[in-house]
Amino acid sequence: MPKILIPTPLRQYTGKLDTVQVKGSTIGEALSDLTTQHADLRRNLYSDEGKLRSFVNVYLNDEDIRYLKKEATPVKETDTISIVPSIAGGSR
């Protein structure tokens, strides 16, 4: 199964898991399975209109899905999906 790496700021919504195994053959299906398993994540990944939020980037292995087929990007069993939110800390 493809796996999704969860960044620190979002682990509070996955019961502290840093990796979640998901079902799905596209990025959209994989993320949908993720937010089914961890419902609290939905609000943080998607806007009210159901669009991926623009400060959350999703990568298939090392490539930004915006430059692939976005949520229709096919996913293989061995792939790693990363969610990379923007963080601003410089530690004042």
């Binding site: 960044p7 620190t8 700021p9 509070q12 840093d18 943080n44 939020r53 623009s54 400060f55 980037n57 990568y59 090392d62 490539e63 930004d64 915006r66 430059y67 990363s82 990379v84 939110p85 923007s86 963080i87 601003a88 800390g89 410089g90 530690s91 004042r92």
Partner: protein, 386 residues
């Protein structure tokens, strides 16, 4: 005409370990001495940056910061010492840098970077290093760098994770290519709220320092078009592709941003946040009133909505711990007939708890104004602040 840059005998001795490497050598050391680097922020990232860039012999280093050293900074901001608490970070940092290397010039900008002053301040430097702690300033630094055509050496940190890259280098991708928009306020916690491993800014700040020195020397492969992710707990570095967005509003093919904008507005932050109302607002209760209730044995329930690890640091003995995140599933532990007071560290999370409970049908709920910090200030100074 400016006189040619040279190294004195003392400088040659000092930079010996650079000079004997052919990749740096006299030519490289003179490039470092001629270089002008601006550090935005003299905090967690700025600390290792300032120390190492000064040590390396970067001739002119600008610092932009308007903050004062406090005790909570010392866990990570190694450019400041205990003796510096209460001093301006600029003065403390400049002293440390001059102590390491009296040959460098440190320019101090005791201001907040704004759309009005950014182009002028950045304009004097070759390379800008972003070590700020908030989204508006990050977008401001990015846009100013793109407009001025200066590289932006970027680093940011959160808890155990960091990101680093070089933006806007010779037409390469910029911060807006990576993240077109900031998160709405409140959705992404800051270091002050989420915490940060004290060592982490050292690692990320030194990646930024390394990239800065490489850009000055013109050696190696710059961290351009690549986003470096660092996970301290897993001790893993990962690299993601960072592409230039052809639709980027500031560096893309059809630019819509040609001058600096209002970045607080862009990030959804009011320019003048409403000052906390003096006195006690509707739905709030003062710490002295809560203490009086406890002393009078008034029937009421005090709930602490912080996390268990915070409860271990400091607590009000009378309080029942129900972390904010657990409140929805533990709401049945509360009785809507009871009078309920919620508290947290400073009053933000407990305000959310009060809001939640009101929506759940509770009528007699109040937020303890100022949280456990106010309790420590006013009621019981033996309760530690954190």
């Amino acid at each position: 005409m400016t006189p040619p840059v040279t190294l004195s005998k003392d400088e040659i001795l000092r930079y010996s370990r650079h000079l004997i490497m052919p990749e740096v050598g006299m030519e490289g050391q003179l490039k470092l001495k001629s270089a002008k680097v601006l550090l935005i922020g003299a905090g967690g990232l700025g600390a290792p940056l300032g120390l190492y860039l000064a040590a390396a012999g970067v001739g002119r280093i600008g610092l932009v910061d308007f903050d004062v050293v406090d005790f909570t900074n010392l866990q990570r901001q190694v450019i400041h010492g205990t003796k510096d608490v209460g001093r301006k970070k600029l003065d403390s940092a400049a002293d440390s840098m001059h102590d390491i290397n009296p040959f460098v010039q440190v320019d101090k900008y005791d201001v907040a970077l704004t759309s009005e002053n950014a182009l002028q301040i950045l304009g004097d430097y070759d390379i800008v290093v972003d070590g700020t702690d908030n989204f508006p300033t990050r977008y401001l630094v990015n846009d100013a760098c793109v407009l001025l055509g200066k590289p932006n050496v970027y680093g940011s940190i959160f808890r155990f994770e960091g990101q680093a890259t070089v933006f806007a280098y010779e037409g390469g991708p910029c911060y807006r290519c990576l993240y077109p928009e900031p998160p709405p306020p409140g959705l992404v916690p800051s270091c002050a709220e989420g915490g940060v491993l004290g060592i982490l800014p050292g690692t990320i700040g030194l990646i930024q320092a390394t990239e800065t020195v490489k850009l000055i020397l013109g050696i190696g492969e710059p961290l351009v078009g690549r986003l470096m992710l660092y996970d301290a707990l897993g001790m893993r570095f990962r690299e993601l592709k960072l592409r230039k967005n052809p639709e980027c509003p500031i560096c893309g093919d059809h630019r819509t941003i040609t001058q600096l904008i209002d970045y607080n507005q862009f990030c959804g932050i009011p320019d003048h946040p409403p000052a906390p109302a003096p006195g006690v607002a509707e739905g709030e209760i003062d710490v002295t009133e809560v203490k009086a209730k406890i002393d009078r044995h008034d029937p009421f329930v005090l709930i602490d909505v912080r996390e268990p690890h915070e409860y271990q640091i400091a607590k009000i003995p009378y309080a029942k711990l129900i972390p904010l995140g657990e409140l929805p599933k533990r709401v049945n532990e509360l009785n809507s007939a009871d009078e309920i007071v919620a508290h947290c560290k400073s009053g933000m999370r407990s305000a959310k708890a009060v809001e939640f409970l009101k929506q759940a049908g509770f009528r007699k709920v109040k937020n303890m104004k100022g949280g456990i910090l106010a309790w420590s200030d006013t009621i019981d100074p033996s309760v530690p602040k954190y």
